[in-house]
Amino acid sequence: MPYQAEISRDNPTCFLFVIDQSGSMDEITETGRSKADFVADVLNKTLYTLVTSCSKSDGVRNYFDVGVIAYGGAEVAGGFGGALAGGIIHPINAIGEHALRVEERKKKVDDGAGGIIELKTKFPVWFDPKSAGGTPMRAALGKTMETVGGWCEAHRSSYPPTILHVTDGQSTDGAPEDVADGVRQIATKDGPALLFNLHITTGGGLETAFPTNEAELADEYSRMLFRMSSPLPAHLAKLAGDKGYAMGDGSRGFIFNGDPQCIVDFFEIGTRPKLVADR
């Protein structure tokens, strides 16, 4: 049975975010913010959650390696800046230590006596929104294959990597499907890498989440993204079902025309580890 490996410091897993930064990502969503801005915020919150979920009384434990690949225009590059700019994937404690900056935000919390108070809270930022040029998706997935392949070589016993790819448009450097197939064939002893695709939109249209069959989809582009996506392992399918998505046998990790809530859910479902040992 694949996807059973315990995630521990000796056998960490990997999350790789592949983010479209093409020009169309500057379109404004129903939240009043651009797609790029919204995705950057969700990615920063996801990184925050990943770091804090590894934070124990003795510090941040390296249960995860995390990377970002950003693509737009002619560029496909690591998405981290500052001290993390030198590589694509970093252990989670290095990510915790090297945010680009730490902002102060306000959050509402339970005061323990039935009321709500507003607390000033430090919020780290690793990733700033960008949007320019075309959509070199094929090159980005090529970089993903190279990155994930190297990671799996070094972590043969680990829970395989999960790749969360976020895009709002069609590839401008050639069909990406065969490269995505290559990504999904890279494996550890615990199973093949998981590639999940999120297509986001500002234009409305029929939203499709975690479909089981490409016949459910309206056009060839969405059917291609369906074929590029891995089936959700049982523990992630359950989580998606718990969030109210209609799941079936063979539901793929794919959302088409996802709204802002879908973006949040996609990141949350995709980055929920099954088991973490030595807690």
């Binding site: 009384s57 339970d110 323990g112 607390l119 000033k120 919020f123 807690r279």
Partner: protein, 246 residues
């Protein structure tokens, strides 16, 4: 002139107490406290959370000083913990963990009237055991090894995590009343979850698990016993604490 002096109340016996960390180089997040007034407490701080060792220490000290668990008691304990840190000066990771909260169990025991009544309070997965000789008369809050789960409900420094207390009837769900009366060779044991799980999973083994614990009289004997059981795969590697009133 003769001055009448009240006879001093006899001091309660202190239970034996042993505790070892999960590994030699790791901090022990279990805490225990014993008072001469017959009140004992132990707490298992969850290593998934921020400075749970301090939280566990506050809980046991406060319980032995004031063994009346109420929401006001818990709020005072949380306030004491929060004073340990200047939240604004913590790094963002520490602040996030501090806000998420520290978690710990609390097992408190009060001997009333020389053991005619023993009141046991348990929140979380630390285990109290009433014995007569090698025979286990009662355990609380669990009676089977399978009841130990990965996510017990624990007391937290974040009040939002304590809402489960709203759904329990403290006097019934969190408290067991026992007595030493009528027992030929009474004993009371309190232990954190690794040892509790071991005890309940070995309950029907021979020799009886209580007889094995009865032989442990020094910290080094306790350490040797725990290491052997861990090595045999019968005991989970975790901070391990035993209070034993034989």
């Amino acid at each position: 002139m003769t001055v009448a002096v009240a006879a001093p109340r006899p001091r309660a016996r202190l239970p034996l107490a042993f505790s070892i960390p999960k590994a030699e180089d790791s901090r022990n997040e279990d805490s225990f406290h014993r008072s001469t007034k017959g009140v004992y407490a132990l707490s298992d701080g969850a290593s998934i959370s921020f400075d749970s060792a301090s939280w566990a220490r506050i809980l046991v000290r406060r319980y032995t000083k004031s063994p009346q668990f109420t929401r006001a008691w818990l709020s005072a304990a949380i306030a004491e913990f929060r004073k340990l840190y200047d939240r604004d000066r913590l790094s963002w990771v520490q602040q996030a963990s501090f806000d998420k909260g520290s978690f710990a169990s609390l097992l408190g025991v009060r001997f009333i009237d020389a053991g005619r009544l023993i009141q046991v309070l348990s929140i979380g997965d630390s285990l109290a055991v009433l014995c007569d000789g090698d025979y286990i008369k009662a355990t609380f809050p669990f009676s089977a090894a399978s009841q130990f789960t990965r996510s017990p409900q624990l007391l937290c420094t974040n009040p939002a995590e304590n809402v489960f207390l709203d759904k329990v009837e403290a006097d019934y769900d969190l408290v067991a009343d026992w007595t030493f009366q009528g027992l030929a060779q009474p004993a009371l044991l309190c232990m954190t979850d690794a040892l509790g799980h071991w005890l309940l999973s070995q309950r029907d083994s021979s020799p009886a698990p209580i007889s094995l614990l009865r032989k442990v009289r020094t910290p080094s004997e306790f350490a040797r016993f725990v290491k052997e059981e861990r090595a045999m795969g019968r005991m989970k590697r975790d901070d391990t604490t035993l209070l034993a009133l034989w």
